[in-house]
């Protein structure tokens, strides 16, 4: 009996040793292929794509930057005006990030450190943000913003993003804050620090990595968001974010696909750069607590 068991273990180990590199390769190819395709198509003239759709690789001599020129030049100059859209996206995302942190840092501190009535119930409030479909929130917000004349304003959109990201932000920060020993704060209190002073001068510097990860995370959510941008900003092209612009133009046939691929690259690149620069910070922040689940 013992012999067959060893055999099975050996055979399986051998099969897995062959299978594992294969699985890793397949995983890598399937995840990266679309991005590589995006990049390569973005530097090709449209005629080439239409003539030979199966050609994946083109020699660098056949590459062109005219697609990027067209997508970035302003509409008035015959381009697609993505520079303007990039600015819009940047304004909304940066504003949402800063404001979310301003709201969520004190919030996370309160939830992790201070005993107050309703502290335990707060989680249900946050859960409701996820349980209800955003399309459900979209209807009344659509109505409300129409009434207030806030549709077509970046400020209104920013406000929605804050509400969407504050709960995650508080959750992530709270996890980190709970790892900071309370004795530090007690020492600060003995030194005569007030509560706010302690938060700003003691806790924040210690929580800097978590705050940073959080900021990047919120930025990425706001930069990638589509539904609310579509509902609130669609009427005026000058207000579009990059995501919205790309979605609107890709539905039609006026703009060539390779130019839009250049638009996709412009939309994706900031996210990829941020992600690879801060990958460890981000993944650790996201899965904090998963070990205990």
């Amino acid at each position: 009996m013992k012999g067959t068991r060893r055999d099975r273990a050996q055979i399986e180990t051998r099969v897995l040793n062959v299978l594992r590199p294969l699985v890793i390769t397949v995983l890598l190819v399937t995840t990266l292929f679309p991005f590589l395709y995006m990049l390569l198509l973005s530097v090709r003239p449209i005629e080439q794509l239409l003539q030979n759709p199966g050609q994946f690789w083109a020699p660098p001599s056949a590459w062109t930057v005219s697609t990027y020129q067209e997508v970035l030049t302003s509409v008035a100059d015959g381009g697609q005006g993505f520079l303007r859209l990039l600015t819009n996206s940047a304004i909304v995302s940066v504003a949402a990030t800063v404001l979310t942190l301003l709201v969520s840092i004190p919030g996370a501190y309160a939830v992790s450190r201070l005993r107050f009535t309703g502290r335990r119930q707060v989680h249900f409030l946050f859960l409701s943000v996820y349980l209800f479909p955003s399309i459900l929130l979209a209807i009344p917000l659509f109505v409300l913003f129409t009434r207030l004349g806030l549709r077509g304003s970046l400020a209104g959109l920013t406000f929605v993003y804050i509400a969407q990201t504050v709960p995650v932000s508080i959750y992530m920060l709270r996890n980190y804050l709970s790892t900071i020993p309370e004795s530090l704060e007690e020492a600060a209190a003995v030194d005569g620090y007030g509560r706010l002073q302690t938060l700003v001068k003691i806790v924040l510097p210690l929580a800097a990595p978590a705050v940073m990860a959080n900021a990047l995370y919120v930025f990425m959510i706001a930069w990638n968001e589509f539904l609310f941008a579509l509902l609130f900003l669609v009427e005026d092209r000058a207000d579009w974010t990059v995501s919205l612009g790309l979605a609107q133009l890709s539905g039609g046939i006026e703009v060539s696909k390779t130019v839009l691929m250049a638009g996709s690259v412009v939309l994706t690149l900031p996210i990829v750069i941020i992600f690879f620069a801060a990958e460890r910070l981000l993944t650790e922040g996201l899965t904090a607590g998963a070990e205990k689940a």
């Binding site: 995983l27 919030g107 459900l136």
Partner: protein, 314 residues
């Protein structure tokens, strides 16, 4: 005895004060809109007569009735369920395989692990656009390669065809090609989410357990079945719930890939159509409400009867 109580009161006040900005934002942009949706769902409101609508409008069940009896609603709800279950299982399965494959040390592991996360972090509009181009029957790479190397006799309209007639050994099967493609996309985009959580949990499994089993001659599949899987079951259950909720409510992916056509009309896309194409706010709200209610019912069923029982975990 007086001082501690005031300190306690102070702390209470400070806690609420620090949390108040959050509460205000969530109240204004989440709680009030939800309540308002419930009100809207029971009033006959279109964008034109919106000004007259108020808290004391005429309440009726007309919207709910219209929604429940309207053509396509039940099939759309069914599509949502199929789409959600398929994508949830797909993303968790791939995520699990990825986590197991990328667990042990090898060269460039960090880079590979990070690259695998790209579909999840990249902007949805960009990745859906690339997929639509890749799968396009006119200029898509996949169809070109399929015809050239796999012997397809004509291009397949992956995203705009409801059913694809497949002949397998004389058997004629209609497969819902667009829906399957959307599910494949969703599994591709969200497996990194499952991967992250499963990998984090795998790394917390004590090494001695596995080593002891190996010494005893356990095969890798046995180690997985009897040692790793029990350790992972709580995370997998959590992932099932999270992914189910998120996919059930999802709008962007389907809207951007197919626009809800070719048998992929999920409820959230339908709500959007009612809202923006017909300006029928009441019916849109009623449908969104039915969607939320459906989600709650399914979750209760899951938590009551199907969720693996985990003892002593919080």
């Amino acid at each position: 005895m007086k001082q501690p109580r005031t300190l306690r009161q102070q702390e209470n006040r400070a806690g609420l004060a620090y949390l108040s900005p959050t509460l205000v934002v969530v109240l204004v942009v989440v709680i009030l809109p939800i309540l308002w949706t419930i009100m809207l769902a029971f009033q006959r409101i279109r964008l034109i007569n919106l000004r007259r609508a108020g808290v004391f409008g005429d309440y009726s069940l007309a919207n709910i009735e219209v929604v429940l009896t309207s053509p396509g609603f039940w099939s759309s709800l069914w599509t949502t369920v199929v789409y959600t279950v398929g994508s949830t299982l797909g993303s968790i399965t791939i995520g699990l395989i990825a986590a197991l494959a990328l667990r042990a040390r090898f060269r460039a592991r960090t880079l590979v692990r990070a690259s695998v996360l790209l579909p999840y972090v990249a902007p949805v509009v960009a990745v859906t656009f690339v997929w639509t181009v890749l799968l396009s029957p006119q200029f898509g790479l996949l169809n070109d390669w399929g015809m050239r190397f796999l012997g397809w006799d004509r291009p397949i309209a992956f995203l705009s065809q409801r059913e694809y007639a497949l002949n397998v050994l004389g058997w004629h099967v209609d497969i819902p090609i667009a829906l399957l493609t959307v599910i494949a996309f969703e599994s591709w985009r969200y497996f990194p989410f499952a991967f992250l959580f499963l990998l984090a949990r795998l790394q917390a499994v004590p090494q001695e357990l596995e080593e002891a089993a190996r010494v005893d001659g356990a095969a890798p599949t046995q180690v997985f079945r009897h040692i790793l899987l029990p350790q992972l079951s709580a995370v997998i259950a959590l992932l099932c719930v999270l992914r189910f909720i998120m996919t059930f409510n999802k709008f962007d992916d389907v809207y951007l890939l197919t626009g809800g056509g070719a048998g992929t009309e999920v409820v959230s896309v339908r709500v959007f159509e009612f809202l923006t194409a017909r300006f029928d706010i009441g019916a849109a709200a009623a449908q969104a409400l039915v969607l939320a209610a459906g989600l709650v019912v399914l979750l209760v069923i899951y938590l009551r009867f199907l969720a693996p029982r985990v003892e002593g975990e919080g």
